[in-house]
Symmetry: C2
Subunit: 396 residues, 2 copies
């Protein structure tokens, strides 16, 4: 896995015409540059430099006590240990390579390419102060975003597996849902099913799973509460699990709790759910290599507002992979908080969530989240889509 | 726990004469500023500002969907949500507070105070570009280092508990050790005992526990191998566990495998072990508030070299707490790789490891690691010290 991604990274350096990529880290189990999981595969204690070059060199400069662990991993072909300080071996290696550009892990727009701390940046500038290389530092965002976004086939397979397990969990949950359960009890059922599968959560335990029932629920990114699911509620869950290699799902599903006198949901609830479903599938039809994320978002957003519903207060979707939020480029509107992300151009091999929502006053939130991979001319769903609002009878 | 540390932080702001401390983060489950675990207690998805002021204000500016989770936590008394971007609410709050200094989390010398990424730093500078505050940013290292270092009594109790469990594990391990076990098998026994206690590792699974047997072992910071523990070997383990609240132990112990014709270790082995033991306890006697870390290291280092052994290729000790390596200030020599750390002055309430080692050619490494808390006039051992080299008989 690491070796395949290192090969892919070296190819991307060639494509972008960048001579060298330097991942510069220390005490990485405390503050873990996300690039370590892609092209290193281990942690370090002391100042360390992992260098990949356009011509295929793989050089690691490490504190001597970190050396054995990285020799065992075997991903770097030249491992240079030091005892007292990294400045001399780093200077020697850079002089030998003489790179015209050195990409380092900082980015204002992509947090996955922003693992270099400001203190480490200042140290690196100081280490290179008397060399020409201090002026040759550039952002690695172009490398990292391509490397994380362009899923290799084995990566899509793992995300699809995570989705399959999650959809299966939703169907097992559906069989156990009944009026009177609290959000927390529903979350507990989901966690039990997850543990039975031997899988782990895709994000923080405090809101994975997230469960929201009724018109007064917290909305999103909050944990389950003691609020009780009652007749007349829309109830939705947001959950992701992690399978082997760390690949994630991130899916949402919605149920409606029938009132004793109802055999089907109120018309406004059905219209809202269908608006969400249609928004996803219209956006999925539009999504292909070459389009911009903002335009995909607009397809879904305009469909929903065109039906008279409020727009959703977030982007349509994010990339997913080894993290639930993974890879620069979002399907999102041109809002300040999204920086440059709305303008990124979609590429083949990227995996996106599609997750619009509609708030239905008096009932709750209708929302669905699916995951697709971008193919040469469209998308393939990695999750089996929710097509119908699931119903909970009030007498069960 | 978070609330007590927030109160302590506000006191430290007063002591240092710093008006405001700003923890500025985004997507914090991907790249997690260590300060979040001390004064926030949760994660965020969007750009967020957690501000503590010298006069006791606790202000959080958050993406609207992150708000509910932090309201539930309840540690910040003023929570300001935003939908489109953080610039306007952040500007308004800073204008109201008008701090003369704003401490932010970057540091060249203390990685626990260096959680701000370089990209986030650039964003913050840009957000503050038209205000006086861009020029008032300073490093939070003085705050963070005091806050992490000065253990409150409940923190010392938890570290002592982690030590007690680990020493107990070593004694259970001692009963199961026999010639012929591999490093990996010894590690497996330790992990079984840990899991029986319901505890987790203090650092990365790949070298927690670390096990080294004989003269050709990897040395340190490497994982256990299939190397077999044989008569005539020094065998040492390095292990830490985490108890409730995340507090850690980090201890080392050494055994010697007697050869069939031996009833006690060779004289050089005993001398080496005793040198390590004495080095720890001489350093422990020297260690008190007001001394510099480099001078404590020198007491142990000079004792070992004075006996004719090689000096250890690392510092004598590090602080420990919610991470195995926690708090600036090391007991270490004046080597480049340690930056300013050798010069830090020891304070009451700090918890340090003491871990010198001696390499004994032909046998292996003799090493002990203990943990002490600095009191008003000396130290108190939080771990029950190893006083004698433990022996493994070759016929058992």
């Amino acid at each position: 896995m690491i070796r395949k991604k290192i090969e892919q990274a070296i190819g991307i350096l060639g494509e972008l015409g960048i001579d060298a990529w330097l991942t510069f880290v220390r005490e990485s189990s405390n503050l873990h540059d996300p690039c370590l999981d892609i092209v290193v595969g281990g942690n370090v204690t002391w100042q360390s430099a992992f260098i990949l070059t356009r011509d295929g060199q793989r050089i690691a400069i490490l504190g001597s006590l970190d050396m054995a662990a990285h020799e065992t991993l075997g991903h770097y072909t030249e491992i240079i240990p030091y005892v007292q300080g990294i400045s001399e071996p780093l200077g020697t290696v850079l002089k030998r390579l003489d790179p015209r550009q050195i990409a380092i892990n900082f980015s204002t727009s992509d947090e996955m390419a922003d693992g270099l701390t400001h203190g480490q940046y200042l140290i690196l500038k100081e280490l290179l102060a008397d060399t020409p290389y201090a002026e040759r530092l550039i952002s690695s965002e172009g490398i990292v975003s391509r490397l994380r976004s362009r899923k290799l086939p084995f990566e899509c397979d793992r995300i699809a597996l995570a989705c399959k397990e999650t959809v299966d969990l939703f169907s097992k949950l559906d069989q156990q849902l009944c009026v009177g359960l609290t959000e927390r009890q529903i979350a507990d059922i989901m966690v039990d099913i997850m543990e039975g599968k031997g899988l782990t959560r895709a994000w923080d335990a405090d809101h994975c799973p997230a469960v929201f029932t009724g018109p007064d629920s917290a909305g999103a990114h909050a944990g389950p509460t003691d609020r009780v699911m009652a007749p007349g509620h829309l109830m939705n869950v947001d959950f992701g699990m992690r399978v082997e290699g760390g690949y994630c799902s991130d899916l949402q599903r919605t149920w409606y709790c029938l009132k004793p006198d109802q055999t089907e949901p109120p018309e406004v609830v059905t219209r809202a759910f269908n608006a969400v479903y249609e928004a996803i599938h219209k956006a999925g039809e539009f999504l292909k290599p070459g389009v911009q994320g903002k335009d995909v978002d607009a397809v879904a957003r305009n469909h929903i507002t065109g039906l008279g519903f409020d727009e959703y207060p977030h982007g349509l979707g994010h990339q997913i992979g080894r993290e639930a939020h993974d890879g620069a480029g979002l399907l999102c509107p041109e809002w300040e908080r999204y920086g440059d992300k709305p303008y990124a151009v979609v590429e083949e091999g990227q995996c996106y969530t599609l997750e619009p929502r509609v708030n239905v006053p008096g009932y709750g939130v209708a929302t669905i989240e699916e995951i697709v991979v971008v193919t040469a001319d469209g998308v393939r769903y990695l999750s089996e889509p929710q097509t119908k609002l699931m119903l909970i009878k009030s007498d069960t």
